[in-house]
Amino acid sequence: MTALLSWMDKAFDVLFRLLRVLPPFAVLAVFSAATAVFALVVVRWTSDQQAIRRVKDRIGAHVLEVRLFPDQLRVVLRAYLSLFGHTLLYLRYSLRPLLFMTLPLLLLFVQLEGYFGRSGAPVDRDFLLRVTLRQADALPEVSLRLPPGLTQQAPAVRIAAEREVDWRLRAEQPGVSEIELRAGDSEATKRIVAGNEFTRITPVRESGGLWTRMINPGEANLPAGGAVEKIEIEYPARVFPLWGWAMDWLVPYLALTLLGALLLKGVFGTEL
């Protein structure tokens, strides 16, 4: 499975390299469209389409009922109750495709988060490197070696209660580099991205199981027996400006996916 995740990392790296000619928003739109198509196919084949159509019709009927018989209090209240009941039923019918979709989409979103979720560390501005150790008594032994282009701005802060060491760093130029940590016999590295380049960014590298590996794509887990448990870099969030609004990538992604699905549902003959 780890191999599959590594393969996925590579595949997405290749894909994003190919799509680098497009602006990030366009790349996001491409993935939205692909997600829409995928979701339509899954919903089409895994759900009870007739039941969904029926229950949607019922929901529509009860909405109209409220408009058509406004004078009949009993009718209106019953319509609202039925509306609620049928909406729950609709959710029930959506559950099956949801189960089929969640894992593949989870894998996809983790990958997309790597590219769209964060910006690189700002050049000429401080950012934090936070290292969590497995044992607090190893704190004094931890040392950091920085590659050229990265400088330490303040002495390390050791927080024994949290088993944590923090460094204030600064990048002098954009680019991808790797820091090295040493704690006793253990060594650990972490990739650092500086500047606003549109590339994969992994804010956390930690030890753990498959789940940890899956939600932190791009870098392998830290070894289970090593002194370092987690390395975290505080990258700023990447935002998508739209008509004066700065928003997380999820918002346009979700909106475009829904729009795409609505536009394409007729083509795929899918009842949503």
Binding site: L64, L68, Y80, Y90, M101, G117, L210, W211, I215
Partner: protein, 723 residues
């Protein structure tokens, strides 16, 4: 520098078989997963959440404004019902329910619910209109006036300029303004639908007073008019072609297309294992140069070894067994430029072998997405479709022509009727449930259609024929033993209606008023009278010299014609200034000719049977009052029992003989002397008085709700009281 140790030991994918558990964990671990859950789960459920949200918002605002709206409405309702003698009136209309037949079945103990009504409430014959035709009688029912005031005299009315028939109740025209681009003619506006029925229905008066009305399939309510209530149009709603019902029949038996006034026979073309055909649609008005109508293509594959076939249309597959109807199927006609006309139809697989034969009902207007308005408000037809599924919208939905012309057999026709009836029942009971206060009225057509087509199976004297001798071929077949079950069709129909009445009574409060009305009764239709032939033989209608007779007066010499017959009961004078080639001078000559025709035709005897074929005639100037009397047939014929206008006469054709045997399945009729075919009136209240007429219903309802009866109404108020 990367530490190789970081790769660590490769672990086995422990959770590989536990995908579902991972998903649950994912949902249960918001701190780590919240960023990812959104779209993953959201895509599938967001639309439902949106619905829920919108519903909640709507509910919130509705509830927020509820008190204010309710105060206004309650005041209005209180005013409306203050003087009302009942809170709710339910009217069940059974088109063509015959009083004599009903009475006989009650006597035999076959209609317990109607028997109870008769015992505890009221049962009376209900006088119908002149002429006793459904569109005329129901128009009088809903307006409370005689035809001279509502302007409906038949299904058809003559176009006086072209001597051609046109629909009497509505006129549909395409958009006046058209943008021509190359070969396309794009309409710049909606088609115009002009109602031709005059007079205000009683539900308009009640609605204005704050009494809510649900009106389901009452005839001559197309186009639907605005009022305070809901209405689904009935009889005279056209099909997608704009006709009153054109079915298509697809067969491997014939090689060429055949078109008649109410059907199109389209041959199948074999291509590989599939047989291809098409459903003819409306004219292609978008293309100026179009020579063909729009077509919806489909293919049928017989399934090997089975008496089944698979039909493919619009990417959808329908499997049908022999003798089976499909569900309503959506039919799309593409007109180009992305314009599609949508309708619905049912298929009936008549046979797979030796010949593939498939019947398709007329393409009905899709209630979910109506090409023409068929309800008020327009969303009401959508509401019903969403609630109960697609349903027949065509005015004359039961395809009598398909049975009459032998394309459907008795069983297939009957099944079609009951499929439609089941839809109607569901609509009615929904309307009944929604109309806790006010008026709920629904008309059921099945009683009319089935009696028209199955009267031939009634034994002599069993119906209300007064012992007339049945003389058409179908009855001979029944006598030979083919119609054992068919003899009971009408009886079972009445029992079905009785059961419906029983269920209705169960759902009503004791003090509500139930009215059961029919617009006319029934008699046998054994022999046809060709009025045009009679006019020709008596010198009133002239044919071009040497010309044979054709449909719709094709060979009539109008310059020498003084009168012509069109439709089921009407004779029209060829009046100068009114008809385009009029020969009869208005005034004295007109009056004289009208009286002369009345006198000559009244008492006309059939030499073959020595029976009175025409019992009475009605001079329009005496029979009708009101502003639209001028549009009436100048003479209305009241045929005797067993007679009716012949098929050829109704279609403006002159034949050699005036009298002919009716050999069609259409064997019962009511377009005769109105005295012979009254309708029925049942009620759970005692209704006193005499000579109850269908025209009385509207004024009685207004009076029941404490409204003043308008002076122009011809009907009288029934003295009705709860027991």
């Amino acid at each position: 520098m990367r530490n190789k140790n970081f790769a660590g030991k490769r672990r086995r994918p422990r959770w590989l078989g536990c995908a579902a558990l991972a998903l649950l964990l994912l949902l249960a671990m918001p701190p780590a997963a919240h960023a990812y859950v959104g779209p993953g789960a959201g895509f599938a459920v967001l639309s439902s959440f949106l619905t829920l949200l919108l519903a909640s918002v709507q509910a919130f605002f509705a509830l927020l404004t509820w008190p204010v709206r309710q105060i206004f409405r309650a005041r209005r309702r209180r005013r409306a019902y203050r003087r009302a003698r009942t809170d709710r009136v339910v009217i069940l209309g059974f088109d063509g329910m015959d009083p004599e037949l009903t009475e006989r079945y009650i006597r035999e103990g076959k209609l317990p619910n109607l028997a109870k009504l008769r015992e505890q409430g009221t049962f009376r014959p209900l006088a119908t209109t002149i002429p006793p035709i459904s569109p005329v009688a129901w128009s009088s029912f809903l307006t409370g006036v005689n035809p001279g005031k509502h302007n409906i005299y038949d299904f058809l009315a003559p176009d006086r300029q072209r001597y051609l028939p046109e629909l009497s109740s509505a006129r549909i025209r395409g958009s006046k303004r058209v943008l021509r681009i190359g070969r396309y003619a794009i309409p710049l506006g909606k088609p115009s639908i002009k109602p031709l029925r005059r007079g205000k229905p009683f539900w308009h008066y009640l609605g204005d007073a704050g009494v809510f009305c649900s009106v389901i399939r009452v005839p001559i309510t197309f186009p639907p008019e605005k009022f305070s209530g809901v209405l689904l149009s009935g009889m005279c709603v056209p099909d997608i072609q704009g006709t009153q019902g054109t079915f298509s029949y697809h067969t491997t038996r014939r090689a060429n297309r055949e078109t008649a006034s109410n059907r199109v026979v389209v041959p199948f073309v074999k291509n590989g294992k599939a047989f291809h055909s098409y459903i003819p649609g409306p004219p292609d008005t978008l293309r100026a140069d179009a020579k063909e109508e729009l077509r919806a293509h489909f293919a049928v594959k017989p399934l090997a070894g089975k008496r089944k076939a698979q039909l493919q249309m619009n990417g959808k597959k329908i499997e049908l067994a022999e003798g089976e109807y499909s569900e309503w199927a959506e039919v799309e006609f593409s007109a180009g430029l992305g314009v599609t006309v949508k309708g619905i139809c049912r298929f009936y697989l008549k046979s797979v072998q030796p010949e593939l034969e498939l019947y398709a009902t007329p393409v009905n207007i899709n209630p979910m997405n109506p090409a023409l308005p068929i309800s008020h408000p327009i969303s009401y037809s959508v509401y019903l479709a969403k609630l109960q599924g697609l349903y027949a919208t065509l005015g004359l939905a039961e395809d009598t022509w398909a049975l009459n012309d032998g394309f459907l057999d008795d069983n297939a026709f009957l099944e079609q009727c009951y499929l439609i009836h089941d839809e109607r029942e569901r609509m009615f009971f929904d309307a009944l449930e929604k109309t806790r206060q006010g008026v709920c009225v629904c008309v059921f057509d099945i009683t009319d259609r089935v009696q028209h087509m199955f009267w031939r199976y009634l034994k002599d004297g069993e119906g209300s024929d007064g012992g007339h001798v049945h003389s058409h071929g179908y009855v001979q077949a029944a006598a030979a033993g083919e119609g054992q079950e068919s003899e009971l069709v009408i009886e079972k129909l009445y029992q079905r209606m009785d059961a419906l009445i029983g269920r209705t009574v169960e759902k009503m409060e004791k003090d509500s008023l139930l009215l059961i009305v029919s617009d006319h009764g029934f008699k046998s239709f054994e022999r046809g009278v060709n009025l045009n032939s009679w006019l020709h033989q008596n010198g009133y209608l002239a044919l071009k010299e040497g010309a044979p007779s054709g449909d719709w007066f094709a060979d009539v010499d109008w310059a020498r014609t003084r009168a012509y017959a069109l439709g089921l009961n009407g004779i029209y004078l060829n009046l100068r200034g009114r008809e385009s080639s009029g020969t009869v001078e208005p005034g004295e000559e007109e009056k004289r000719l009208r009286a002369e025709l009345c006198a000559k035709l009244e008492g006309l005897t059939d030499p073959a049977t020595s029976q009175e074929a025409i019992r009475r005639t009605f001079n329009s100037m005496q029979a009708f009052t009101g502003p639209y009397r001028e549009n009436a047939p100048d003479v209305v014929i009241g045929f005797g029992a067993g007679y009716r206008a012949s098929w050829d006469s109704a279609q403006g054709r002159v034949t050699k003989d005036v009298f002919e045997v009716n050999s069609k399945a259409w064997s019962g009729d009511h377009c005769i002397d109105p005295e012979l075919v009254p309708g029925v009136l049942f009620s759970n209240w005692k209704i006193a008085g005499e000579k109850h007429a269908i025209t009385d219903v509207a004024p009685t309802l207004l009076d029941l709700f404490g409204l003043k009866v308008p002076g122009h109404m011809d009907g009288k108020v029934w003295p009705a009281a709860r027991e």
